[in-house]
Each structure stands twice: as C-alpha cells, then as structure tokens.
Amino acid sequence: MGYDPARQLGCKLVVEMRPVAVVGIGKTAFGAFADRDLRSLAVEAGEKCLRNARAEPSQVESFYLGNFAGPAFVGQNHLAPYVSTALGIQGVPSTRIEAACASSGSAFFHAWTEVAAGVYDLVLVVGVEKMTSQPTARVSQILAEAGDCAGEMKVGSTFASLFAMIARRHMHEFGTRKEHLSMVAVKNHAAGALNPDAHMRKRITLEQAMNSKPIAEPLNLYDCSLVSDGAAAVLVAPLERAREFTAKPVRVLGIAQCSDYVALDQKADITTFPAVRRAGEQAYRMAGVTAREIEFAELHDCFTIAEIVATEDLQFVEKGQGGPYAFAGFTALRGERPVNTSGGLKAKGHPVGATGAAQICDLVLQIRGEAGERQIERHSLGLAENLGGSGATCVVSILGAVA
C-alpha cells in the first residue's frame, strides 16, 4: 500500500489525501514582555510567517489559533477571529483549539487534515500564550486547570507535582537518577544559549541544576520549563503548490494526534504515556520511517522527566533507559541524535499555547539549514512531540526535506 494517511489514522478513506508541506514559519522571541499583549504577539508571529512564505493575508483560506488559557490569563475570549482579523484575514473559518500545552500542535494537526483532505489549500496556524502578567501562584492555578480539577488537583497538585510523581516512579522502577534529570536541563540550556529567540540564554552547570530550590521533589527549579510570553506561526499548503511560496518547502511526512485520561491517577502505568506511544507509532507508519531513522527531535520537556519518558515512548531508546541515554550525551546538540536543539521548553521558554507551533518552526529551521549557531549536521528528518497535560493529548509530527 502506498501513501495512505487517512487509513493509517483509522479513518474511512473517502478522499485521496494530498501530500502537505510547511511553506512558511514565523516566531516572536519568547520571554517576559511586560509591554506586549496577546494579540500583538500573535500578530507579529503571523505576519512574519506570511512574509516568510511571500503570502498575503487575503490568500489564507482557513485559520487556526492554538491557545490554552487566554480567557484566564488575559481576560479575552473568542480569540481566533480576534487574532485573525488583526492579521488582515477576513471572512474565512477562524477556529481556536485548546488542548492544554498541545494546543498549537493540535491546531497544526487540524490544519494538516484540512489541506491533506483538499478542503483548503492555504491554512495558517498561530499558537500564542501571554502568561507573565499573572503572579506565579495564579499561573500555577490556571495551569492546574488542565488536570482533573475534581480529583488530582483538588488536593493541591500542580503540574510540577504530577511530573514529580512520574519521576519518583520512574526512578523506583528503572533506577533513573536525579543527575539524569539534571543533565537534560544542562543540555537544553546549552542549546538555548545559542538560540537568539530563547527566553533564557544561559548555560548552567550540572551542580547548579542539581542544587536549585525544590519545586516538587525530586524536581527542582531547573527541572521545570519557563513561564513565558510568545507566539509562533506555521503556514501549511499542498506540496504541489509549495514552491509558489518558498524555495525550501518542508514536507509533513507523518502526523498523528492521540488522547488518554486527563487524570494521572487513572493511568495504569505513569512511567509511560500511551498517547505518545500511539501517536509516535502512527506517525512513523505514515512517514514510512522507523524511530532509528529520525535524525533530530523537538520533544516536550515541560519537565526534564518528560523528555526522558518521551525518548522511551518514541522508541529512541528502550523503556527505562532514557535517563542514562540523556546523561551520556546522545541527545545533546552535538550528540548522535540531538533533542531540543532550540533549547526546548526548558530554555527556549514555554508559552503554553505557542509551544507546538514553535516546535514545528524549529524543525523547519534545522531542515532548511537556517538554525544558525545551533545548526546540526544531519538535519533532513526531524520529529516533534507536543504533549498536553500529563499525557491526555499528544501530537507527533515528522517533517522532512523535499529533494
């Protein structure tokens, strides 16, 4: 069987799906920007993306906004047309997708389905979050609402505490050590220091990472991603039209979105994310590649343990071996399979709703050979994994160079 993405996603094949390309990318810097509001960030990313693709707002046929909690963070709802009209996009479907930290990964997945199915040709995805106008305890509260508020969150859990419990269990079952977690932070900060758009461009030592203040044991400050403002945008088109917009189209070879329980305590085994495993398997099948062939990846390191578990669930390494694999440097910027060459959520920053789209932008930069100081040598096949909550949503995308 040839290229048959719909059937591999478990859909009835009613149309022949088209190969899809990313033809434009645009990002704001990530950071704490007191003078910027949600809409201005989203518009900046969207305009950069359209310019990058030499496209006009009037050419956009459908618009997706990935955003987790605009209403709670900035008191604005009905965000998709609020942003799209400010971009000069008028009259077309304008849809907000909320899937916690996987909001814009999911928006990208839905943009892909529309283009692949032939519904529209040119679909713009913007992911945005404006978080830093709220104090830390309020941010924790808003983020906690992506968990099960009637259960796990009622007792005072935070997302850090949920991933801390995952880390504890992973340590208990597989012998994963605190320094394995800390090395992920050291590695991602080293890459982030080379990314001009990163929130935190600062290298850290293993000792600093091991000894920062506790957040939820065994996770400390350097195990946690950053609370950031920022936006990222991706323009998607049929592959056959890609060269109208760019000399360097990047093909979406495989993509899948999978789901699971929202509450961590409903999962049989918290050391693995079934939604990640399933999305990875589907995306590999669609792309016709194995995990071994993936040259580099942007993985969802909301907490250091999450990157370790992702390398296992995506079959980069055997179950339980993610800690030693990271510690030995295999996933470092100059390692055999670099993970988070952007600095990841850890150092680049994690404006929740922007993260999935930003991961796609970072894959495209590497594949095009435009990643500057952090450019890696083998960069023709990359994977992005965008996780929502403690594993309730996962989007895996595999992107590749077009010969």
Binding site: S140, Q141, A144, G151, V155, T158, R168, I215, D265
Partner: protein
C-alpha cells in the same frame, strides 16, 4: 503508596500549606486516588490508611 512528592511551590489556594506531600494511593478494593498525606512522610511501597476527608480533600497517613 504508588508514588509521591513533596510540593514546595503551590497553586494560590494552597500557598499557606507549603511544604506538603501528595501521593497516588492504590486502594485495597482496586483503583487509585490522588491524596494529601498527613503526619510523617511516606515513601513508595508504604502502607497507608485513610485519615478522613477535610474540606473535601482526602487525607491519608502511614498505617
């Protein structure tokens, strides 16, 4: 006790309680629940017993 953590950075509603321990407990009758731990610290594998709900929050302590 299936897994646990001690929280040092809390959501606003729990800021006054820091530090506090939360855990996922495997119930004898089956199923799991996320709870707050009362009294001494517990570790994976410890047997715990219900210490009653307070303000709607399930509290457990070391058995």
């Amino acid at each position: 006790m299936y897994t646990e953590t001690v929280i040092w950075s809390a959501p606003e509603a729990f800021a006054a309680d820091v530090p506090y321990q939360t855990a996922i407990v495997m119930l004898d009758g089956g199923g799991r629940v996320t709870v707050r731990v009362l009294g001494g610290r517990v570790a994976i594998g410890d047997r715990v017993t219900e210490a009653g709900p307070r303000a709607g929050i399930p509290f457990f302590r070391k058995a």
